[in-house]
């Protein structure tokens, strides 16, 4: 993939994440902050499908943005063909792993398995 395409995704995920995380934070203000973090309320958030969907999208956006940021930092730290390949594939694997693990959590709680 061309670097400009990757960076467009990088900037796009950053902007979208800022917007959705703002919604996520503002939802804490709809009730008392401490109250919103109580176990029952957190579980209720996960079981409300639109909210769970938004959490899933935030997870994907931050994973893509974060792991690409990590890739960029590591590429600047050291150079070399084998190293750069390892960093790129490692970051994609990390991103997929984090999204899979986070999605599993969201789906399980949404389905009442937690």
């Amino acid at each position: 993939m061309r670097e400009s395409v990757i960076m467009k995704i990088h900037y796009g995920t950053a902007l979208a994440a800022v917007a959705l995380v703002a919604v996520h934070v503002l939802m804490r203000v709809t009730q008392g902050f401490a109250e919103s973090l109580e176990y029952a309320n957190v579980i209720a958030n996960y079981q409300f499908l639109p909210y769970a969907g938004m959490l899933e999208i935030i997870l994907i956006l931050l994973s893509v943005h974060g792991f690409n940021g990590l890739r960029v930092i590591l590429l600047e730290l050291k150079q070399g063909r084998a190293y750069e390949k390892a960093v790129s594939y490692g970051c994609v694997a990390g991103m997929v792993g984090l999204i899979a693990y986070g999605s599993r959590t969201i789906i399980m709680v949404n389905m009442g398995m937690a």
Partner: protein, 255 residues
């Protein structure tokens, strides 16, 4: 018949005989047998107009001829005498001692360049990167085959790139760049500014091929926009701005 000396005698352009003196600290380093650079100090008289290069040549003439320094035109045109002067990348021939406001002037080789010896550095990486971005007009026809006598350009079209054409390839921007310090494959602000110079030229048709070259994992996207390159350019070129314009092309904001 007069005998011609086999080696030309080095002459400073202005004999220095002032009551003002500074301490000139010159970094000495020979990679073939030194582990780290050391500084040699010389007390040098100077006038209001004496440049750092003239002070270094005074050292070579009267104290230590073995100091390695690269220079040529002495008028900020050739870009040979770039070095770190009191911590900042500058041209030695374009920096007056009097304007440094210091009794101690420290000269070191440019950062981010391999050192040949003392103040002389290797320019291969700079020239390779410069060459890589195809620093010439690309088009199918030429002035020789075209019906027109020359490729016409309006003042507005010229304005788009003219400041970038002032680059003298001195390497000060690359020396100041923080990304160049860590990323040995980074193309560098000099080459990127020159890529913009030709992309923005209305006579050029090689925009796509140049954008493809700089759109690399060690290309334009590794610039952090620190702006140091523009701060140190002795010719008033603004590579940081050129890089942002190039990003505009790649992101689709410019065409």
């Amino acid at each position: 018949m007069a005998q011609t000396p086999s080696v030309a005698q080095e002459q400073t352009s202005t004999p220095i005989s002032s009551s003002h003196t500074i301490t000139l600290r010159i970094a000495r380093f020979n990679p073939s047998h030194d582990n780290e650079k050391q500084f040699m100090e010389f007390n040098i008289p100077y006038e209001k107009w004496t440049t750092v290069l003239e002070a270094i040549l005074e050292v070579k003439k009267h104290f230590d001829h073995s100091v390695a320094v690269r220079y040529s035109c002495r008028q900020a045109s050739c870009g040979s005498c770039g070095m770190i002067i009191n911590g900042k990348p500058r041209l030695a021939c374009f920096t007056k001692i009097s304007e440094l406001d210091s009794n101690v002037v420290t000269v070191e080789p440019m950062n981010n360049f391999p050192i040949i010896r003392d103040l002389a550095v290797r320019f291969e990486r700079l020239f390779d990167s410069h060459h890589k971005i195809k620093p010439y007009l690309i088009r199918d026809d030429s002035e020789l085959t075209s019906n027109e006598k020359e490729f016409m350009q309006s003042p507005e079209e010229l304005e788009q790139y003219i400041q970038f054409a002032n680059c003298i390839k001195c390497g000060l921007c690359n020396s100041a760049c923080p990304t160049m310090a860590t990323d040995s494959s980074f193309i560098g602000p000099q080459a990127l500014a020159q890529a913009y110079r030709y992309v923005a030229d209305s006579r050029d048709k090689g925009k796509d091929s140049r954008l493809k070259i700089i759109d690399d994992s060690h290309g334009i996207w590794r610039c952090h926009f620190a702006g140091s390159c523009s701060q140190v350019c002795p010719k008033g070129v603004d590579p940081a701005m050129g890089i942002q314009f190039l990003r505009g092309y790649l992101l689709g904001f410019r065409s």
